[in-house]
Amino acid sequence: MTDEELARGCVSKNPAAQKLLFERFSRKMMGVCIRYADRTDEAEDMLQNGFIRVFEKIESFRGTGSLEGWIRRIMVNESLTHLRKNKIMKINIDIDDVQFMISGNNPLTGGENLNEKDLLKMIQQLPTGFRTVFNMYAIEGYSHKEIGEQLGISEGTSKSQYSRAKIHLQNWLQLEKASFEQVDNRH
């Protein structure tokens, strides 16, 4: 069954089509939500509300773009709504106040070659504001202007949040790399 057929089935509220659509996209969308959340149960809330929204709005899917892209956008919006409701976005946080943690409970698993679990852990340990901007810009490909509009911050704030997030990720990657290779020259 193609995505278009699936979408049509969901418009007519066919339970089998709804289940199939969920099965086809839920793992990918969980992969989106888990980056915006910092805990799994939080990501599950986002995913759940996102899919309910998808089934509510499925009539408005025009088939001009991909169904996956359309669902993904709804998931991101739903994740942002969730964060706005439940998190302090801490957009104004000072970079010097934040340091990366190597979590004692969750040591990195990837060794020399960082795997996706390690990278996900790094994203999740970013403060909420940094994490949100980094996700939207680097992975979803939103522009800083769009991010600003979505989050109610200026374009410049989005840019500076992003570069700060990047610095943190870089530092952390370097520290991890140094752990397995060589101490870097800053010492």
Binding site: S26, N49, I52, R53, P107, V183
Partner: protein, 379 residues
Amino acid sequence: MKNTENIEKLFKETFEHFEADVNPQVWATVQSGINSGLGGAASTAAKFAVGKIIAGAAAVAVVAGSVWYFASNNNSKINSTSLNNKKQTEATSKDISQNILSENQLAENSSNTQRQKQTASSVHTSNPPQADNSQQIQNVSGSIDNATSTGFSSSDNSATPSPSEHKYGKGSDAPTSLIRGSQIQNSKSKPSKDNSTSDDQDADQPLTATIFANTESGDAPLTVTFSNQGIASSLSWDFGDGSASRENFPSHVFDKSGTYVVTLNAKNSSGSVSDKVTIEVRQISDITNIPNIFTPNGDGENDMFFFEMKNISSIGVAIYSQKEGGLVCKWNSLDGSWNGKKMSGDDAPEGVYIYSIQALGIDGVPHYEKGTITLIRKP
């Protein structure tokens, strides 16, 4: 710059098509959400209703917590000042009941009182830093009668009174609950003849902003419940840490230590007034006493490299060799230390090593320590 491109590429490629396991329960919830007639809206609403109940329970817990804190404060006072025990106990229980009253009913009480006593024509700033709660309640309810003594007269309803601000020391004498504030008397306000003044006279009510915080200092993370003891039709709160709220009774968690000035802006049709309160959040986590030398020779003295930690929740330590480069030792556990051996198990040679300690306190405070440690092997 090359690094910069790499990091974007690395994350983009890793997560563009990233998939994660889905809890089967999610589909069950979605299914019941879309099959409940009205679709997701109903299910979402139901979920939020549960959330509110939980939030309510949490608020009760906060009140209970503050009462306990207050009581224990007074107990310590009894010990240190040897006051009459019985009297003190009475005062404590009175304070507790007033404290509960102030959480739940004070706003209503004081606004009723103010409606009854609306003959006043000037502004009062209630500002008793050392008063106990019951006195504060009297102050607020009686404030209109005493108003002229503060000499803050208002003839213009657009006047903005300067916000009052307090900062309390950390001593046990500081009350845990305080009321202060500013209010502005609408010049058009008339004495109310009818106790059941209705909302259509809102514009004739004195607009007041008076922050009530159930506590003003404590260890991070500190939860504080705020309310306005004054009269206004809409409130906006700025918690001074980058977050805000428009709720009537917001409960806010200050994650990190610091001094936060919380601002309340109260509005009605006649204008707006504001009030401020300072919240002190103390840091309780720390990393101290990092040595700069150790001698791992098995003589029982300074054989290990470690340091003191207070209220640290997670830690990552890495030891690098300055001479050879490269990681020598690394640990992520709170009871970790370095015994002077390489990861291969061989003794590390004498020399200078670099440590990098990254830790997170239970109060949310990050700690980052970097320095050198000299390893000496005495015979």
